[in-house]
């Protein structure tokens, strides 16, 4: 059963408040490879490793069925800085 982006989104939104979310299917549609970009205040004060472990746990069942999974986790403040840098 391929994992849908909607499934991933629902799982993430159910777990933490989300300020911004991008889910990219990097598999050309077979539903096996995803890259997620999550911005949440829940990441405040947490190390990158702790954030990734958290997302891994939230999506544990889905990740187990995927071929590849990539993630990026930022706090709202980091996201603003990220946008400013991109715009520059």
């Amino acid at each position: 059963m391929p994992i849908s982006a909607a499934n991933l989104e629902a799982a993430i939104r159910a777990a933490i408040p989300v300020a911004h979310l991008e889910i990219e299917d990097t598999s050309n549609g077979c539903g096996e490879n995803y890259a997620v970009f999550v911005v949440s205040e829940a990441f405040e004060g947490k190390s990158t490793l702790a954030r990734h472990r958290f997302i891994n746990e939230v999506l544990k069942e889905q990740i187990a069925q995927m071929h590849a999974f990539s993630q990026k986790t930022l706090t709202p403040a980091q996201y603003q800085a990220h946008l400013a840098k991109q715009a520059a």
């Binding site: 069942e61 999974f69 990539s70």
Partner: protein, 158 residues
């Protein structure tokens, strides 16, 4: 007779200790989360402690079998991690390791990087630490590479 050895490796369990609760809560999870054998755990513990830098990857540094593993190898290469301080394990060549390393680290994907026996992260974390400069700091602090020298920029090309 294994009393001491068991206790020692048990302290290395850390994160997986909270597994039973979730396994009980949902029977389907019990399938994806099996306990690895004491033997497999001891072997991995030995492996991650054997060299300052240990990378579990798909394929070998010369012939990586996955883009994520390739990226991890390239990043370590850019930072000039010396060959004698680094060891890689090809999980594709060892199906038991491929499964048990995920449980040992409580991390679902390959590659996985350890520095001085500590789990650092997977490819995403490695790349972001590379970009932010944290990886360089970690490698210097861990005694893997010398503090920045003027000629170190030359060593990044090969």
């Amino acid at each position: 007779m294994f009393g001491t050895a068991l206790r020692t490796s048990f302290t290395a369990l850390r994160a997986p200790l909270r597994v039973p609760a979730t396994a009980l809560a949902s029977p389907s999870l019990a399938f994806t989360r099996r306990y690895i054998s004491q033997d497999a755990r001891a072997k991995i513990q030995q492996a991650v402690s054997s060299t300052p830098v240990v990378l579990f990857m798909k394929g070998t540094p010369d012939a990586p079998q996955c883009g994520f593993s390739r990226a991890a190898v390239q990043v370590l290469d850019i930072h000039g991690v010396p060959a004698e301080k680094m060891k890689t394990f090809d999980v594709l060549a060892d199906s038991e390791l491929r499964q048990s390393i995920k449980e040992f680290s409580d991390w679902p994907t390959i590659p996985q990087l350890y520095v001085n026996g500590e789990f650092v992260g997977g490819c995403d974390i490695l790349l972001s630490m590379h970009q932010s400069g944290e990886l360089d700091d970690l490698l210097v602090k861990s005694g893997v590479i010398p503090p920045e020298e003027p000629e170190s920029s030359n060593q990044t090309q090969n």
